[in-house]
């Protein structure tokens, strides 16, 4: 079962606040498993936030971010009803995405 994702977006004054939860193990590669062998690195590398199809945030993150990351972004120039789409890409090439309408 793929780890789920959940996003929420709402207007705070004239700024849209977007909050996203991403289910991901975010393994650093430094941890050892119960068999004594290192657990391979596995982390989200790239996060993209789109507003009505236009990219507004494009970010790289690393294994320094902990398991099940939470991010929030503030975006100017958005309005209620706009569609926000958030996606990630990890170091194994897996992706996931979710969307939300700004409330």
């Amino acid at each position: 079962m793929a780890d789920p994702m959940k996003a929420r977006a709402s207007m705070k004054g004239d700024v849209a606040e977007i909050r996203v939860l991403m289910g991901h193990p975010m393994e650093t590669g430094d941890r050892k498993g119960s068999d004594g062998k290192p657990i391979p690195r596995h982390f989200i590398q790239n996060v993209t936030v789109k507003l009505n199809g236009k990219t507004v945030v494009e970010g790289n993150i690393s294994q320094a971010v902990s398991r099940n990351p939470v991010f929030s972004f503030r975006v100017k120039g958005a309005k209620a009803g706009d569609k926000v789409e958030i996606s990630w890409l990890d170091n194994k090439g897996a992706t996931n995405k979710t969307d939300a309408a700004i409330a």
Binding site: D3, P4, K6, S66, R67, P69, V70
Partner: protein
């Protein structure tokens, strides 16, 4: 989140060093601030989604989902169900808490065995258990609902009475009871203030369990909470879904009556 946690801890330590006299108040405030931060970054909703998927997934010899499971509000009704549990179930002729009822549904609807279901009820950070995820889904559907475990059926009265007795019953290697830690004001374990669970003032605490614990990324159910309290008191390990654990939960639920449910909580 781990970085946040580290910062908050550093701040708390720094404050403790600088402001020794005004300590207690400042420390409390810092801990509250830290708990606020934890709640804001909590991943519990992700677990609720995973639990929902498991609830709907056909499993077991009968290849059935739990969608017809009756949690006391009618078959398949999950909304508000947790707030009125534990309760008496006529079809099983016993009082059941959420986990006990889920086991019952898995056995009757899915045709699974008790041993197979309860083989791994307490998971870990890398792999939460099926039970934990489903519990998180179900309790999340009672958010904001006032706790109202019923005490009308004779078996419910008996269960609450038994739970109260167990709460105050001292035994084990250290001669502890639940009330040793949760029976009077000002008790704590390390920096954790302990709620008085025999008094409505501790209701908020009951209403934030089951909970996600940040320090070990673990999902914890009420059965786990009781199990671990008994471990800390050096009692023998209680059986999963035993009458004693259900009765104790029932007693705490009844004390917490009227408190809006605010879980699954996030603990440090």
């Amino acid at each position: 989140m781990r970085a946040l946690q580290r910062n908050a801890l550093l701040t708390a330590t720094a404050l403790a060093l600088v402001a020794a006299p005004a300590l207690a108040q400042d420390e409390k405030k810092e801990i509250q601030k830290y708990q606020q931060m934890l709640t804001e970054g909590s991943p519990v909703e992700l677990f609720e989604l995973q639990g929902e998927a498991l609830w709907n997934k056909p499993q077991g010899p009968k290849n059935a989902s739990l969608q017809k499971c009756d949690l006391g509000q009618g078959p398949g009704v999950v909304k508000r169900a947790y707030a009125t549990m534990p309760r008496y179930f006529a079809d099983a002729d016993r009082v059941m808490d959420l986990e006990t009822r889920l086991v019952h549904c898995m056995m009757t609807l899915q045709g699974r065995t008790f041993d197979e279901i309860t083989k791994r009820v307490f998971g870990n950070a890398d792999r939460p258990s099926e039970m934990e995820l489903i519990v998180f889904y179900v309790v999340g559907q009672s958010r904001g609902v006032k706790m109202a475990a019923p005490v009308s059926h004779p078996k419910e009265k008996e269960s609450v009475g038994l739970g109260k007795k167990i709460f105050f019953y001292r035994a084990g290697a250290w001669d502890f009871s639940c009330a040793s830690c949760h029976g009077e004001e000002g008790k704590r374990i390390r920096m954790q203030d302990l709620p008085i669970l025999s008094d409505p003032s501790g209701a908020r605490s009951y209403a934030t369990w089951p909970a996600y614990r940040v320090s070990n990324s673990g999902l914890h159910t009420m059965q786990w909470r009781i199990n671990d309290c008994y471990r800390q008191m050096r009692f023998p390990e209680p059986n999963f879904t035993s009458e004693a654990t259900v009765a104790l939960t029932h007693y705490m639920a009844v004390v917490a009556k009227g408190e809006p449910y605010d879980g699954p909580g996030t603990k440090r």
